[in-house]
Amino acid sequence: MSDRMKIFLLLLPAMFIIVVLFFGGLAIGAMRSFNYMPVIGLTQPNFDAYISVFTDREFYLSFALTFHIAFTSTVISSVLAIGAALLLRRSFIGRGLVNFLFQINLTVPHLVGAIGMLYLFSQSGSFARLAAEFNLIASPADFPALVFDPYAIGIILQYVWKEIPFIGVIVLANMQSIGEDYESVARSLGASKWQTFRYVLLPLIFPGVLSASVMVFAFTFGAYEIPAILGANFPAALPVLAYRKYTDVDLAARPEAIAMAIVIALLSAVMIYFYVRYSRRRIRG
């Protein structure tokens, strides 16, 4: 058997699944969003769904909110993750414990984190009770709205909680494979600690940080259950809005829902571009 044949056969089952389920799902979705479904007699594709999506104020509010959630969560998590990785690089009392909790946290599903945040930050949650204990608030309503709030603070807190370890573990591994030689050289040439970090270490770890951040951004932009638990009703995050439209009793809203899903897919295609640019070396193993 020739190598070409061998490679083809080895790849066939996996590619079949990915092409049929993943790309097939996307393609069927795209067709439905254009109201093109020959099977059920819709043979005239049109832009109706996109027109009603793009003329709906709620869509823009949702999009802006979702972008805010994804962007803010990603930036805060990345910065804190770099800090955490710098911390974990050195030995100190409790490092083993932090390391272990870091990894434990990686395995806890987002949904559990979201419920935990709800119990911590809601107006009758643990922090509100603590505030009441110290007479800072008179009733639950005095506690600032951190969940179901218009700024999505609860959602962002949950993502930051979950993504610091994710980005941190990747950055830490990056730092460990780079070693400390470059920094030692910079230090011996008179660079300050900050200069060493800013001009030596940061550029070295940046591709790793970026590829992890892209994954986080795409995930936080497209996740459903976290904003569904912690988010306000209006405007809702885009995936929540899409799901609501899809499951609306009015079946005519379905193409609109799918059009929103396609918008999410297009945005993640942009993310893939960045991911591939910065993470090629990691795939090659």
């Binding site: 389920l21 799902g25 949904l111 643990s126 995930f219 459903y224």
Partner: protein, 274 residues
């Protein structure tokens, strides 16, 4: 470098370490307390009455929590098994060969790790309806392959890129059949990859919510769906108990794989999906 550090710097580290530890375990604490609480009303910092009621409910045969647990385990196990079956050969092709179009194949396999499930699943849903796969366990297992398979392939590609096929050739020249060669030569060499990739695939499937909700149509009630329903209906005590049950496999898996795990492995990306 560490020896030159001042006492101030060292205590700063311990302090930030302590803050980090607190932050990392904080959200799990109210869940754990709720599961043993019998009513826990504002503004009590701790429940006045403790009880095992939520746990008794979760463990009872009639509540459906255990059924849901077995169903979730079954779905994740089958999705993992299929991912291994399909992912190992693909990993071999990507890890051991250079070929035209390889970059495109890699990109296609990577794409599902970035594109959110909701973007894909709405299209799949309408196809599954016409195939009768919606609202079935089979349908749910199939869609779980979308997020699980890529990690299996990535991990195996990493393993096979450090793999020497000469051993296989030797076994064959000594008269071993292809099956025996695979069983006695290839499999032992790639086993660590299969274990780590498989555990990741299991966890990724274990944490799926929206794919299960849409394709299962609420009829395939896995643990995350049950957890979500209890959380949004205000049964905090039962939510706490189910939450604790739900995170257990991840912790067990972590304890099993800690020594294999490093941020350098392609598998760690899988954590981004959980």
């Amino acid at each position: 470098m560490a020896t030159q550090e001042s006492l101030g710097m060292r205590s700063f580290r311990v302090l930030t370490g302590a803050v980090l530890i607190t932050w990392l375990i904080l959200p799990l604490i109210p869940l754990a307390i709720w599961s043993f609480a019998k009513g826990w009303f504002y503004p009590d910092l701790l429940p006045r009455n403790w009880s095992m009621r939520a746990w008794e409910y979760a463990m009872s045969d009639t509540a459906g929590v255990l059924d849901s647990l077995w169903l979730t385990i079954w779905i994740s196990l089958v999705a993992t098994f299929l991912s291994i079956l399909v992912g190992v050969p693909a990993g071999r092709a990507l890890g051991m060969y250079k070929f035209r179009g390889k970059e495109i194949v890699e990109l296609m396999i990577l794409a599902p790790t970035i594109v959110p499930g909701i973007a894909v699943v709405l299209g799949i849903h309408s196809v599954f309806i016409s195939m009768g796969l919606n609202n079935t366990v089979h349908g749910v297992i199939l869609v779980h392959l979308i997020p699980t398979l890529p990690y299996m392939v990535l991990v195996m590609a990493g393993i096979f890129s450090n793999y020497d096929p000469a051993f296989e050739a030797q076994a064959r020249s000594l008269g071993a059949s292809p099956l025996k060669t695979f069983w006695y030569v290839t499999l032992p060499a790639i086993r660590p990859g299969i274990i780590v990739g498989g555990l990741f695939a299991f966890l990724v499937s274990w944490s799926q919510y929206i794919l299960t909700l849409l394709i299962g149509g609420g009829r395939v009630e896995t643990l995350p769906l049950l957890l979500f329903n209890f959380a949004t209906s205000g049964r905090n005590d039962i939510t706490g108990a189910i939450g604790m049950i739900y995170i257990l496999p991840g912790i067990i898996i972590l304890l099993l794989t800690a020594k294999h795990l490093s941020g350098r492995s392609g598998a760690v990306g899988g954590f981004g999906q959980i």
